[in-house]
């Protein structure tokens, strides 16, 4: 078997030990910077064995050229938006559609009551979904802060208008630790369930420079 070298300008995969103690091919991939449901500009550079990420590193592309101020949005609208993006990744188009409708309704401010009703309906549906709990539960829960499902339920609480205390911001290093060893689809869900903003990274890097 040949390894290494280049074909058509592409580096060939090399081998590495996998979690079952075998030597398997490792492919270096970059997920992002524009993937459905993920924040734009986020790149996950990873080693892939089969469909398992064996090492991961996250970075923001062009974080310093992006406007530092996010569009001013009510927390509830932002939470609905986050929820809709997560539901996109989780492959639940009807719920994502309802979340977006609620968000748009809130932004228009004309039919606030109706939008609020829709937001409550969709968050209740997501919160109570046993299917979602079954399929997305129990991943991305290493360390603290609960798993993907806990974070989604938190989005749901915020999206339905409840006050939720702020979580400490997750650093990209923590995220990388969460997705390491995860299947590529779970890694996508894990990142989509987090609240990642390029602004923090940009300001952090400015601190480093200063």
């Amino acid at each position: 078997m040949h390894h290494g070298g280049e074909v058509a300008g592409l580096a060939m995969a090399s081998t590495g030990p996998d979690r079952d103690g075998l030597e398997l091919d490792v492919l270096k991939v970059a997920l992002g910077p524009v993937l459905p449901g993920w924040p734009t500009g986020l790149v996950l550079r990873a080693d892939l064995q089969g469909d398992v990420l064996t090492s991961a590193e996250l970075a923001w592309l062009d974080a310093d050229t992006r406007p530092a101020v996010e569009p001013d949005r009510a927390p509830q609208e932002a939470a609905l938006d986050r929820l809709a993006r997560f539901l996109d990744v989780a492959g639940w188009p009807t719920a994502a559609r309802d979340a977006r409708r609620a968000r748009n309704g809130m932004a228009e401010r004309a039919n606030r009551d109706e939008a609020q009703r829709l937001a409550e309906a969709v968050t209740r549906r997501v919160n109570r979904s046993r299917t979602l709990a079954w399929t997305a539960g129990g991943i991305g829960g290493r360390g603290s802060g609960g798993d993907v499902l806990d974070r989604v339920r938190r989005w749901c609480d915020m999206a339905s208008g409840q006050l939720v205390e702020d979580l400490p911001a997750t650093s990209l290093k923590d995220v990388a630790a969460l997705v390491e060893g995860a299947e590529i689809g779970s890694a996508r869900l894990i990142v989509a369930s987090l609240d990642l903003r390029p602004v923090q990274a940009a300001s952090a890097s400015e601190h480093v420079h200063a």
């Binding site: 592409l10 459905p36 989780a90 639940w92």
Partner: protein
């Protein structure tokens, strides 16, 4: 063999055209119902899939770096072809395009060939997401293949024949869905799984940016999407024939009943399927092996005992 096949009755070419037309109509029905449920039904619901299809027909192909073009194109063309071939043994209006003594196995074989086709679609473009999708389809396929086989065989067992027209005839007294509800549900769910649609979209899942379909454009995307819709429609038609009495029904002519029942199966499938998120394969395969295989085996056992007691005679 008292029944005439469609090919014998109409001549081969018109019969093939007829089946292709039925397939396209079924595909359109699936796409329209799906769109109505996901986006919300409006006047343009039926026209939208047609418009999208026409747009794809004239879209320029995107390509990737160093693809395996031969296998890629082959896979894309195979998906709708297999869907139409599987429709060839479905008795729409009491007649199949061609009748063999092993229709049920034929249907199953077309769906197994789909594994190869979808894997090729994932392999061809030389891209990570597409390849991951291809392997997901194989894993999903391995898990649902046996339950699907047992579900198909259960219907054949009760009818004492692998010929679909015989299975329809055997349901004159009682629809098979009454005595084999597990087989019916498993069959319809597997149909969604081999069209990788709804809760079983994982091979083309949004979490891997569209999976096997992620690098498709133009005609290729049209062919694969069309194939999926026709497969789903064909499977709904097959479910109608195997479990819902085929074209039996009062007052209306047989083919109308058949299409009505198929439409009902499609609607129920889409309505239920779109209410849940995509089921991740690492969760579903365990259920497939540990729950569905024993359940379908038990179902077959129950039906076998009924057959021995002369229940279906």
């Amino acid at each position: 063999m008292p029944e005439q096949t469609l090919a014998e009755a109409w001549g081969l070419a018109p019969a093939v055209l007829g089946v292709v037309a039925v397939g396209l109509i079924l595909g359109l029905v699936v796409a329209a119902v799906d769109r109505a449920v996901v986006v919300g039904g409006t006047v343009g619901t039926v026209a939208a899939p047609l418009r999208d299809g026409a747009r794809l027909l004239f879209e320029q192909r995107r390509t990737t770096l160093a693809p395996d073009r031969l296998l890629w194109r082959l896979g894309c063309a195979a998906v709708p072809t297999l869907a139409l071939l599987s429709l060839a043994v479905v008795p729409v209006g009491g007649r199949t395009l061609w009748s063999t003594s092993a229709d049920l196995v034929w249907f199953n074989a077309m769906e197994a060939l789909l594994w190869a086709a979808v894997w090729l679609v994932g392999w061809g473009p030389n891209a990570v997401h597409a390849l991951t999708g291809g392997y997901r389809f194989l894993a999903q396929g391995l898990a649902y293949e046996l339950p699907l086989m047992f579900a198909l065989i259960t219907a054949g067992l009760a009818a004492g024949s692998l010929r679909t027209t015989d299975v329809v005839t055997a349901q004159e007294g009682l629809w098979f869905v009454v005595t084999m509800p597990v087989a019916f549900v498993v069959f319809v769910a597997s149909a969604a799984a081999f069209a990788f649609w709804g809760p079983f979209t994982a091979p083309a899942g949004p979490d891997i940016a569209g999976g096997v379909t992620s690098e498709l454009s133009g005609v290729d995307r049209l062919l694969v999407d069309l194939g999926r819709a026709v497969f789903l429609g064909a499977a709904a038609a097959m479910a109608t024939a195997l479990f819902l009495g085929g074209d039996a029904g009062p007052w209306l002519p047989g083919p109308v009943w058949f299409l009505l029942k198929t439409f009902a199966v499609v609607t129920a499938l889409v309505w239920v399927g779109r209410r849940v998120p995509v089921l991740r394969p690492d969760r579903t395969v365990e259920i497939g092996w540990m729950v569905l295989v024993p359940m379908t085996l038990l179902q077959a056992l129950v039906v076998a005992v009924l057959v021995l007691n002369g229940f279906y005679a």
